[in-house]
Structures are given as C-alpha cells and as structure tokens.
Amino acid sequence: MWLVRPAQPDDLDQILAIAGTQSARLSSTLPKQSDALAYKIEHSLASFAGKISTEDDPPRFLFVLENTGTGEIVGTAGIDARAGNGQPFYNYRRDALIHASHELGVSRRVEVLYPSHSLTDNTLLCSFSIRPELRESDAFELLSRARILFIADHREWFTQRVTVEIQGVQLDSGSVPFWDSLGRHFFDMDFETADQYSGQLSKTFIAELMPPNPIYVTLLSEAAQEALGQPHPMTVPNFELLQREGFQPGCYLDIFDAGPVLEARTDSLRTLVTSHPKSLHAANRDLGETCLIAAGERDQFRCTLTPVSETLEDTLKVPVNTWKVLNKTAGDRVRIAPL
C-alpha cells in the first residue's frame, strides 16, 4: 500500500536519491545536499511535534510517500506554514499600465512585472517530487492531497490562503528563457545555481542581486514573454490536479522562471471541503470506492488510499489492513475524502 507520513531521519538517503533524479526546479525547496536535507528533516519533525513557533523560523513540514510493501520511499511533498519562512517571499506581480495620449489618439497596454512580496506568510505547498512512473497514478494524487488533509486536521497552524509555485518553461537544452532574458543579467549565474541558492534559508542574495525596479515585459525576449505564467509541460498533471483542488493562477509569477504561482482560499480547498471526520470500523471485504483516508495528529499523521465499503453518518468501514497502515484501531477518529 501507499502511505504518506512525516519524513524521518532514516529516509535521508532515499530522499536524496529522489532529489537527484528530479528536474532542477525542485531544488529550491528540496535540497540536494545531505547536510541541508538532514536539517530540513529535523526541522520538519520539530514542526510536526508542534515545537516550532511561527514567528522567527516558522514550521515547515516534509512528507514522504512510502511503498509499505517494500519500505521504499518514492516521493516527497512539503508544506511551509509561512511562505518565505520569516523572510520575504519573492514573486513578480504581472500588471499593466495604460499609456495613452488623448491628443494623438493612441492607447497602449504596457505590461509591467513588479517585484512583490505580497504572498509572504501565506501557507505554501512545496517540495513535491515523485518517481516519474507514478506520475499518472492514484499515488500521485494521494501524495499531493494528503497535505490538504493534514491542513484540515491542523487548521490553526496554517493561514487563510495557500500558495503553490509551478515550475515554468525550461527547454530540453536546460536553458530557461525567462532567466536568460532577465535574471541572468543581474545574478551572474546559471539558472540551476540560482535555484539551488534560493533553496537555502537566507534570501539575502536575492535582496542583494534582484533588480529592484519594475520590468517592462516588452523588453524581454520573445521566448521569455511567451513563458510568462506558463507551466513546464512535465508539471501539467500536477497543475491540473491543483486546479481541480481549487487553486487558480493569479497575477504572480516565479522570479526565476516566470512559472505560474497558484493561490486558493484554504477553507475552500476541495479536499478540505469534501472531507469528513469519521470513526473507524471494520469492513468485511476489500471492495468499494477508493478514498483518501488520514489519521493521527501531529507527528503521528498518516494518510493512505483505502477501499470504503460503507460510510454512514459518523462511521466508516474500511479493511483492517488500512487500520494497520494508519496505526489506528476500531473507534479511532479518521478523516476521509473522495478520490
């Protein structure tokens, strides 16, 4: 069975292996260095345990997707309780000014990218990675949506709005048109390097190197203009899943690759709205509609997929096998959501 649970120190090597096979964009929130990753897991465990204040170094949660049959880790997903983690969370806000001359009868829409920190402190979904062969599977959906069930059961830890960044356009050659047209001139490094640094906790280098003035879109290369707000083709399944969840692209873009930044009201997330707390009971058969099921508070949180044979007012019948994966027993509280 597929299980989503908090990342543990023992998972380190397997997570590193996943991070190594992923595309570059992932690195900004999932470090590829052993030390940095070990710290991230440690901080995540403290966050799950409720030992981290939201002020100075806000909670960051890292989940893994485990194949319970083999014990293998095949994916990761994270939540930063506060985007920016106590520092500015950088985006470009895409807006337009109207340049019009009454006398000449000219009116022109001039698109501008404004440096913005407006999404700072929103809750952020991040660090999503999964083995390529699972990209179209139910496990993919489980890994992504388990986070929403965690939020539903720990609502007070999170903010009114949730944000998620989608990887932007990167060519097969590895070049990123938006970066090449803008960021490269100011950061004097390649996209991968910048992306790697941005995964580090101090964002001082962005304050130091990012151009502080608004950028006129018309002065970007054509390829960069076309990439504005466009998701990388590889991320389309994820993009669509998040849109079904209720996330909408707004006016914000990633500062490095101009990928879309999605936003949603936390309390309107589909998984949160359609999920219900139930008490756990045994089903006789392994049949029924497949649902997401989550249980356990804080660091005991577990989430898996289960067939549901019957669901009444407050009770839920699922195979005992599911109980085991969740570490729960009859009568315990669980939360269920349709797939």
């Binding site: 340049h99 019009a100 001359s101 009454h102 006398e103 000449l104 000219v106 022109r108 001039v110 501008v112 047209s181 803008l182 001139h185 100011f186 950061f187 004097d188 490094m189 640094y197 101090s202 001082t204 280098f205 130091e208 190197l209 990012m210 151009p211 003035n213 608004p214 950028i215 006129y216 018309t218 002065l219 970007l220």
Partner: protein, 366 residues
Amino acid sequence: MLVIRPLQENDLDDLYTMAQNAGKGLTTLPADRELLEKKISHARETFNQRCAPEAGLYLFALEDTQRKKAVGISGIQARVGLDEVFYNYRLSVAVNASKELGVHVRTPTLHLSNDMTDTSEICSLLLSDEYKGGGNGLLLSRCRFMYLDDFHKHFSEKVFAEMRGVSDGQGRSPLWDALGAKFFDMEFSEADMLSGLGNKSFIAELMPKYPIYLPMLPDSARAVISRVHGNTAPALRMLQAEGFNFNGLVDIFDGGPVVEAFVHNIRTIRESINRHAMVIRKSVNLDVPADERVMVSNRSFRDFRVTTLPMHCIGPDTVSLPPEVADALQVESGDPVRLAPLKESGMLTKHIYRSSVPGGASKWQS
C-alpha cells in the same frame, strides 16, 4: 565677407531652404515655414529684450554680405525646460553584489531625467553645404561662446549641447527601434518631429517611467548609447576641444550624448582678449587660411556681429580693422571689440601682451 548677425524676419526664405536641405535629425529646426517664422519672431523679441530673459532664444545668421544671403544659422536657448518639459535619460550604473556568493554585477541603467531644466543650450547649428569648410562652421559655432560670456547674466553658469545620435541612412535609430518604438506607436522620424514641434505632452503620456536596464536591450541599441552620428563627430570634437564633457545624459530617442561645460571654462572664452577697434585705411587681405584668422565681435547685445580677421591685425592694445570689416561689425575707432581664436591651436598667444577679459587667460598664467 561672412558675418554673424542676429537672425532677421527677411531670413525666412533662406532659413526654410536650409532646413529643407538639412533633412531629418535637426529637431530644433524642422522645415516648417510657420514654425520657422515663429522662431525668427521669438529671436527678434529676445534681441530687443521684449521677452523674459529666461525665455530668450538667440538665433544668429551667418550672412554672405556680397550675396546678402543667410547661409548658416546657430543659436542659444537661454533656458530649457521652462515652457515644455525637457527630457533626457541619465546613463547610470546600478551595482548588485553579494559578498557571500562572490557576485558583483554592474548594470548600466537609463533613468528618465529632467536635470538639464533651467540650463542654457547651444543649438540649431546649420550651415549651407556650399559654405562648409574654411572655418565657417567654427565661426558659426564659436561666436556663441563670446556672446555667452559677454552677456553671462542672461545665461546659466553651465551650458550644454545635445549631440545627434546614431541613425542609419534611412534615418532608423537602433535605440529607437529597441526601446522607443516599443512604447510609442510611431516611427522615429515622427516622434522626433513631434518633439521638435514642441509637443511634448505625448512624451509624458507614452514614455516608460521606470528605469531601463540596458542588458535587456539588444547589442545594437546598447552600442549607440552616448555615441554620436558620424556627421556630428566633427562638432563633438570641436566642443571637446572647447572643454565640453559628456555629462551622463543622453537623448531619449536616439541615445546621442549631452555635453556640457562651465561657461568660464570654455576655451574660446579663456583664450579671448579685448581690444579697441582702430579703423585703418590700408587694405588687408582677408582671404588667409582659417588658422591664421581670429574671430572679432562687436560685443553688442542687440546687434551682435562677428567676423574673422587675419591674426596680424592684433596689436598690443588695439586691433586694426579695414573699413569693410568695421562696417560689417558696425564699429568705429575706439569701440571695444573682443577677439578669440577661430581654430584649435593657441596661436593667439604670441599676439597677446595684455589680457583684459574678466575670467580670461590671466587667471591661468603661472
């Protein structure tokens, strides 16, 4: 004889012909009869002190006295940016550095600027092709410096000139194509013309207001910023020889540089001397090479006149003027005149025994 004098109403036809032949790129003198008529009338008001000093427009004609024809024009605008807004880009450098990452990047940046506001501009230089060479261009340009210094209360301490930027044979400007054209829905020539006609609110309305980071422009555009048009290179060298320096500002349309100098530092002024006119009977061969001639002005505000004269006419206290020169300058014996070198070299030096120009050469003697 070629004589500088204030522009007059009856110069309109000659001026219009010159403007037509000049083609594009001279925004202060477009070939528009009505506009030229207005300019002449403005200049007349100025010389007759019937307009506010800061609104003054001083236009001088180079007249071929035999043909009674204006064959060149040059001007001084007392103050720019008082009626219309005067725009430039300031070429500035933004440094972004991260010690931690060992990154240090300098980004040349254009900032919209009105910093020349309230400064005097030398402008509108135009010379008929057939009169080019022989120092006529120098006379047309440099005569203004003597005027600037003699009547310095009417002008700012600093004076500037906008140099025409790079464009190709078809009048296409690489900077305009890369920048202006993306914001103004028109051709360079049209924008240039509109701006020359004095209609500048379209600039406030359509111009990008935030700084432009140069690395985002193509090489062809970056390459021409602060560079002058090939035709203007001699004019730039002349001004540099006078002590003008690039001041960091460029034209918003074609990227041509603005050069400036403190009036008291301009070489023509530093090297000029005052003498009293002595009208002589003896005829003088005026037709000597430019580097053997000096400019001589009558120091008149209302009827400023300048012509050239062989250097050997300069004496210790006086300068000898043959009658036709005295006539052209409208001076008589005993009237004060001012002399300044026409060409680069300090050849005037050997003729000087005493300097009486305020702020002139004596200050630098050592």
